[in-house]
Symmetry: C2
Subunit: 241 residues, 2 copies
DNA sequence: CGGCGCGTGTGAAGCAGATCATACGGGTTG
DNA sequence: CAACCCGTATGATCTGCTTCACACGCGCCG
């Protein structure tokens, strides 16, 4: 990794390696991938920057190089819900790109971010020219659909402890690939918006678990110590404190 | 439409016309469609019959010819949630067929049904041989994803009146294609499971609206009289009775 | 280094919706 | 036609979660 204080020698190349590793693109042959690279533009964002908003035309597919992006929606009365957090190496915004409809949620940089943007107009013909790629997208969409269905299930059937446990487990799962598993760098406020319950309630539940050593609370982070117990609570309408 | 009391002269043919009209298959050329027809088997189900259960391997894509199918999940403690109702001319079960994973929900005949079943083993190679078909499935999956995301949004951000209004509007929307719009043939119990709230609460809200002539309640059905007002309540955290 | 903003921690009070109990009509089935 | 089941209707109570109100520690920045 070269420094990025100076002007980068290979502006997009380094960032494309992230794309290269993504399940969607990893099987592309070198030539096709190079073509893809020509469509890509990179950008740097400050925390809080809006990438797109609900209702915008969906003109681009975005890949996260570093940092995390928050996919969320907000209601007129100020409440808002986090649907997903997108980390390095992941992509988002594919639905609007693929079907040409408006975006269904907001995307906001949750930390300083580097992203790679691929324009729909160039990308869509590219996908059609690569049948294998279409199948990959089908798989991606299926995965998303399973995830989202799971959320509906959770929100409708489970109570606060169940939902919170599920959310924590999902977040650790996600980070499994990276180095320090079990430590989740999110604020309680963020978790409350992911789970759809008030920050205070989340805090109380977390403290209850902390006193049992199921989790440890740090400033701006949560460490899962006893995943098994959480699993049990997440799995069913189980008994709890 | 011939009678179906006697043995049908063309067992699958008549039912395939339903497939033929579906957006996914309508653009297939005659030859390909005929091939598809050879993969299809039809079946008749009694109300309450299980088509598949959560966790089953996803071996088939199903199209509904007549009747409606309920896609639902249930928690160990007896509560259950209806994720979707599939009516005549619609298909379901595509996620498990496309990605080969287990089913994420149960499918149960909500009335006596005729269905057409297409086996994954034959269907998947067929899809791969028809690039246009893959794109159609991408569109279908995108639509599903938008729908499901909308559900998450609704469940997290809206209260009972909002969710109920949204559900009613969605159901009338769905029936727009068929003859008698505005009359929704569902029990209040079913609606409560779609919305994720208790039957009693649903009933009270519906009666409140009935007294304003926004809806009319019949036995096993609800008639939407004032869609505009419901739209307003569904659209935002609006005021209400 | 003192202030200010953000993330956290806690209790009191209020409320939306769940649960419980009970009743009634209509349709079907022995 | 009587018994029963299902769907609807409605009030009383109960409760999980929200809201509000406030306090504390930490890190950042003028």
């Amino acid at each position: 990794m070269p420094q990025n204080k100076t002007i980068e020698p290979r502006p997009v190349m380094g960032k494309l390696s992230v794309l290269r590793k993504h399940p969607i693109f990893c099987d592309l042959d070198a030539e096709a991938f190079e073509q893809l690279g020509r469509y890509a533009k990179s950008a740097t964002l400050k925390r809080g920057a809006t990438i797109f908003s609900k209702g915008d035309p969906g003109n681009s597919l975005i890949a996260v190089v570093s940092g995390t992006v928050k996919i969320s929606i907000s209601s007129p009365d100020g409440r808002n819900a986090i649907l997903n957090l997108i980390g390095p190496g992941e992509i988002f915004g594919e639905v609007a790109v693929l079907d040409g409809q408006a975006r269904t949620a907001d995307a906001i940089a949750n930390s300083n971010c580097e992203i790679v943007v691929i324009d729909r107009r160039e990308f869509l013909p590219f996908v059609k020219s690569q049948p294998a790629l279409a199948m990959k997208f089908i798989e991606l969409l299926c995965t998303r659909l399973r995830w989202t269905s799971g959320q509906v299930e959770e929100v409708i059937l489970q109570d606060l402890p169940g939902r919170l446990a599920s959310a924590l487990l999902r977040l650790t799962e996600r980070r499994k690939a990276s180095q320090d598993s079990r430590t989740i760098a999110v604020t309680q406020q963020e978790i409350s918006e992911m789970v759809g319950m008030s920050r205070e309630s989340i805090n109380k539940q977390l403290r209850a678990w902390a006193s049992r050593n199921w989790v440890r609370l740090e400033h701006g982070a949560i460490v899962v110590l006893n995943a098994a117990s959480l699993q049990e609570i997440a799995g069913s309408g189980a008994e709890d404190d």
